[in-house]
Structure formats: C-alpha cells, structure tokens
C-alpha cells in the first residue's frame, strides 16, 4: 500500500464563517495534499481555529465548501466524517480509563471486544505508553495525556488528523521532544495532518507546508524555507522570525533583481514582480544575515552595504545582538554569532554592514 492511499486530501474553497458581523474566516481557499503535514499558523483571532472547527464539523461554514477526497462534507455531521482530532488540553474523558478512552472510537464503530483490546494495545505501543491502560487521565502527566489523546485520535485509522494547539499547555523542553515525536508519527502513519498553532518555531520545525493566516485570510502558503526566506508580505515577514524593514525607492531592474535607493545607498533586492521606477517600497532582511563589513568574513555572493551607528549592544550567550541606526533614522537589528575572537562593538560606534542580495526581499 502506498502512502497516498493512507492520507486524505482536503480542499477548502472560498470558505467563510461569519459571527454576527465579524468574518472570522473570510474566503479561505487551500488544497491540502494527501499525506501532507500542513500547519495553519497565525495569531489568535486570525481564523485558524475556526477553519479547523469547520473541517472537523463543529462549525458550519456560512459560505464556501470543504471537500475531503473530492466529496463535499459540509452537510455531514462530525461523527460521520471519520476524522481524528487532538484537542487543546486533550479533552480526555475523565470518567474513563486510558484504555476506555482509546477504545471509545472503536466502540462507536462496533468493533468486537477482543479486536478492540488488540488495537488499543497497538495504539499505546505507538505512543510509547504500554502498560498505562488501566490508569485514569488525571493520574498521568501532561505529556502522557497528550500521547493518549493522539493514540485515541488515530486508533480508528482515520485518513486525516486535526490538531488544535496540542502542545500549548506543555513546557518548552517537553514540547520540543513531542514535536519530534509528532513528526515521527506522521512519517509512520502516512496520513494527512492539519496542525493549528500560533507558535512560529513549532510550525517551522514540524510542517511540510505552512499556511500563514491573518484576519481570516491566508496570507501565504509555502514550505518553511519559502516563508522564512521569501515572505510575500510585511505581515508574514514580521510574524515568522525577526525582520528588519527598510524604506526604499525603486530605481531600476536587473533580471529579477530590483535596484533600489535606500538611505543614499544602492540596495539590490529579490523581487518576483516588476515594480516601476520611483515606487516607494519596503525591503526586508533577517537580522542574523547581516554582518559587519570589516569582520573577517569573505562574501562570495553579491552584497548590499550600508553605514550605520550602533545604538545598543546586548550579549545574549550564543549571539550578540546590536541595535543599529541608519543615517535616515531607520532602526535595524543585527545578530552576530558570539566568539571571543570577534571584537564587540561599542555604543555610538559607526560601522559599515553588509548582507547578501539573495537575503534582501522586496515586500
């Protein structure tokens, strides 16, 4: 059996959800491929949870369509959709044991008792909790409860698993371990995962693709690298990772590189479109991709350069973080790997910085 057989494909078409007069979800169209790990990422109120709730069937869309494997499910009640779901805070039944919790979906489907026991044991094995079947949820730690919730959601072999901030309640260390485990689970099961989170780091580590949501709309869909290196707009650039924004004026094009004037210097940037000469635009760069031009570092790619003044210097262990100010007053952040061999800059010092043209994006 090949992988694509195991995962459902989901297609959202112009999906819309209105509450009173607010559009929580405002025309979302998205194709989620079979077997994909797709994350809906966005700040609270961006519509990511409402979208998930509509896929699960707890909310009815005001307009648009949801199709699973090409069949519309909008009119189907949640208990017929056969979708696994892991809830925020897990939603384990407190009156049932771990075994009964995991056996619950099997019981609803009339699976005979012996078969049920076998599948439950298998599921416990899958999440590394064999021997915990007799316990009640309250006797487990947060991480264990989370695994039970996952086991319960996959035991009936759904082709689609939805997860609503499933790691939100856990501490950082545990969260990182479980992130890896979710990836492994995704690889093992081969089914489609739709994952909701507001944590951009989590999204970057785990997903095949990320759909960044803002104000009920999808701002950008792409692989983690796409989103990080080539954000399509200012919101995505600011929400995923840290970004510097430089105001600039377009002066010309050179193949797909745009030449702009920024603070008296010529800055080249990557640009998918064809802005007209004289347009006022914003350029974005990542702080860790800026360098002090005089440090011992040989660039082999085309570089942008700018003169700045250091306004603040913070030592943060593995990195040094500098606040810089260009002559036109624009503030920028530069992060430099810390090393005893590199000279620390003093506040008020003037410096030249440089960075690769490939790391400069016009948004």
């Amino acid at each position: 059996m090949n992988r694509t057989d195991r995962g459902a494909s989901v297609s959202l078409a112009e999906l819309e959800k209105r509450y009173d007069r607010v559009n929580a979800v405002d025309g979302v169209s998205l194709d989620i491929h079979s077997g994909e790990f797709l994350t809906l990422l966005g700040p609270s109120g961006s519509g990511k949870t409402s979208t998930l709730m509509m896929i699960a069937g707890f909310e009815t869309p005001t307009a648009g369509d949801i199709a699973i494997d090409g069949t519309s499910v909008v009119a189907m009640p949640p208990y017929r959709r056969n979708i696994g779901m892991v809830f925020q805070n897990y939603a384990l039944f407190p009156h049932l044991t771990v075994e009964e919790n995991i056996g619950f979906p099997l019981k609803q489907r009339g699976v005979p008792k012996a078969e049920r026991a076998r599948l439950v044991a298998e599921a416990l094995e899958l999440v590394h909790l064999p021997g915990y079947g007799e316990r009640y949820p309250r006797q487990l730690s947060g991480g264990q409860q989370q695994r039970v919730a996952v086991a319960r959601a996959v035991v009936f072999k759904p082709r689609l698993l939805l997860m609503d901030e499933p790691l939100g309640a856990l501490d950082k260390q545990l969260r990182e371990n479980l992130q890896l485990e979710m990836r492994r689970l995704h690889a093992d099961l081969g089914i489609t995962f739709i994952y909701v989170t507001h944590d951009q780091e989590e999204a970057l580590t785990m997903s095949d693709r990320i759909a960044v949501m803002n104000d009920g709309k999808v701002a950008q869909v792409g692989s983690p690298e796409d989103l990080y290196d080539r954000p399509s707009d200012r919101f995505v650039a600011g929400f995923i990772g840290e970004s510097n924004f430089l105001p600039a004026i377009v002066r010309g094009m050179e193949d797909d590189v745009v030449i702009t004037e920024c603070d008296g210097a010529l800055i080249r940037a990557m640009c998918p479109g064809r802005p007209a000469s004289g347009d006022r635009v914003t350029l974005t760069t990542r702080p860790e991709r800026l360098r002090f031009a005089d440090s011992a570092w040989n660039a082999t790619t085309p570089q942008n350069r700018l003169s700045v003044t250091v306004t603040e210097a913070v030592f943060a262990g593995e990195r040094c973080r500098y606040m810089l100010q260009a002559t036109d007053g624009t503030s920028m952040v530069l992060k430099e790997p810390s090393s005893a061999a590199i000279r620390r800059r003093a506040i008020g010092e003037r410096a030249e910085i440089s960075w690769s043209v490939a790391d400069t994006i016009l948004v």
């Binding site: 059996m1 057989d5 195991r6 069949t71 519309s72 499910v73 009119a75 189907m76 009640p77 208990y79 017929r80 056969n82 099997l106 489907r109 009339g110 699976v111 599948l119 009936f156 072999k157």
Partner: protein
C-alpha cells in the same frame, strides 16, 4: 486499512432531509424544558395566580380589597410587626454573621469544623430549630433554670412567647444565609492587597475599614437582601415561639384562610409577594445577589 468499518457516507441523503432534521434539532432544548415548565405552571404557578386573583374578583372585579388596606388597622399593625422583625433580625444576622464569615475565611485547619457548625443548623429543619429554642427559652427551659441556679433571678422570666424569642430564633435560623455570601466575598479578596495595605502603613483597623469592608460589600448586600426577604415570609418560627400578639403577615394570611376569608388572604399574599419581589427587583443589579441562593447550597 479495511480492518475497521467506516461510517457509511450518507452525506447525500442526509443533505436532502437536512432542513427537516435541523428544525427538529433546534427544538430539542425546549422539548427538554417543557415537561417541567408545564408541571410547574399547572401545579404551582397557576394555582398561586388563581388564588391571588381572588383579591381582584371577589365578588366582582374590584380594587376595593387593596384600597381597604389603607384603613385596615390590623393590616397596618401586622405589616409593621413583620417589617420591624425583619429589620431587627437582619441587623442581628449582619452583626453576628460578619465576624463568623471572617473567621471562616481566615481559619486554616479549623475551617472544615467551622463550616460544619454553620451548615449543621442550616440543614436542620426550621421546625426542629424552633423547637430547640422552645426547650431553651421555656419557663423551665435551660436559660431560666441556669439563671435561677446562679441566683441572678428569683423566679422564671417570660422569654418564650415574646417577640424577643422570635427574634433570637429567627437570627439563629437565618444566620447562615448571611454568613455564606459574606464569606464568599471575603474569600475573593486578594491577600496581597492586605499585605500591600499594611506595607503602605495602614493599621489593621484602617486596613479593615478601607480595604476589607469595601471589598466585601457585595457579599454584605447579597446576604442582607436574602436574609431580609426570607425573614418577611417567616411563619413557623413566630407561630411557635412568638408572643400571642406578635402576628406576622404570614400568620395573618394563615388565619384568614382558616376562616375561608379568601379575598382578604389573597390581598395580603399579593402585598407580601410584591414586597419581597419588589425588594429583589430593586437590588437585582447588585453583584452577587443572583448567586446568593446557589451559594447557600454549597
């Protein structure tokens, strides 16, 4: 993957009947509440309303039963006694209840014991508690015997069957209704506020007056209101331990019903009910009032 039966994909037929189904679903909540609503309307609300109607249509439609109350000396006296008793009892409960509420909130290891002492009488029937006061306050009751034995009096005092006896017994019965809402309000005061107050130089008394008391006012309001409204309707206790001439509104209503004087009894009932509901309605915006009854069950 076929080892588990999939739920049948009945999306299409379901879609066809969906409007019907959705309508049916929408009325489920009403269908659940309806049996009780009908039950209470038929067996409680309509009977009470039918009875109250006698104050307006006996023998024909008239307001004369109400206008007559203005010149009715018996009513005036009874209303005054009822109101007066309720005020005294409410004040008594407030004075005795506030310190206990504070004690309950402050206590750590003793808290469960204090709670039991508050709740045990609360759960005991009004009849039994009124009887207990008959035992204590009677001519040969504990108080009289004790005072005689100590030589403080030389013949038994008359305490039982006086308005004082009614007041003591009613305070005893209603005290938990005052304590519980106040304790609840006190419990919600952030202890760091008290530390902050004393850190800012407030004496304990100033902390009490300027921090604790204002923050507990919602509980005091709820407790006072509850106690007062309940006191207005008291019947068994004043009838058992009160003086022969201390007739409350409830007792007067019962007497009139005994004499089958329905129009008058209904008029008095309407006045009693309107007074109680009027007070609650006037105070319904106060925080904590709505929860007072629910809290009294905890």
């Amino acid at each position: 993957m076929s080892e588990i039966a999939q739920p049948s994909p009945i999306a299409v037929p379901l879609g066809a009947v969906r409007p019907l189904l959705r309508n049916w679903r929408r009325h489920v909540p009403l269908m659940l509440v309806a049996p009780l609503l009908i039950y209470m309307l038929v067996l409680y609300a309509l009977p009470v309303l039918a009875m109250l109607l006698r104050s307006l249509n006996d023998p024909t439609w008239t307001l004369s039963h109400y206008t007559a109350l203005f010149e009715d000396v018996v009513f005036a006296k009874t209303f005054w006694i009822t109101f007066n008793t309720s005020v005294i009892v409410t004040l008594g409960c407030l004075i005795l209840g506030y310190p206990v509420a504070m004690g309950l909130v402050r206590a750590k290891t003793m808290a469960p014991l204090i709670l039991v002492v508050i709740l045990l009488p609360f759960w005991t029937s009004v009849l039994v508690r009124s009887y207990a006061w008959m035992v204590l306050l009677g001519r040969h009751g504990l108080i009289n015997e004790g005072l005689l034995a100590l030589g403080m009096i030389d013949r038994p005092m008359r305490i039982l069957n006086t308005s004082l006896a009614t007041q003591i017994a009613m305070i005893h019965i209603l005290l938990p209704y005052m304590i519980l809402p106040i304790a609840n309000a006190l419990r919600q005061i952030d202890p760091s506020l008290l530390r902050a107050a004393s850190g800012l130089g407030a004496t304990p008394f100033m902390t009490f007056r300027q921090v604790i008391l204002p923050l507990s006012m919602s509980g005091v309001a709820a407790g006072t209101l509850l106690t007062f409204v309940l006191a207005l309707g008291f019947y068994i206790t004043p009838a058992m331990v009160g003086g022969p001439r201390d007739i409350t509104l409830s007792m007067l209503i019962a007497q009139e019903v005994d004499q089958l004087n329905w129009a008058y009894a209904a008029t008095l009932s309407a006045v009693l009910l309107a007074t109680a509901l009027g007070i609650l309605a006037a105070a319904r915006h106060l925080p904590g009032v709505g929860n007072a009854f629910r809290m009294s069950m905890r």
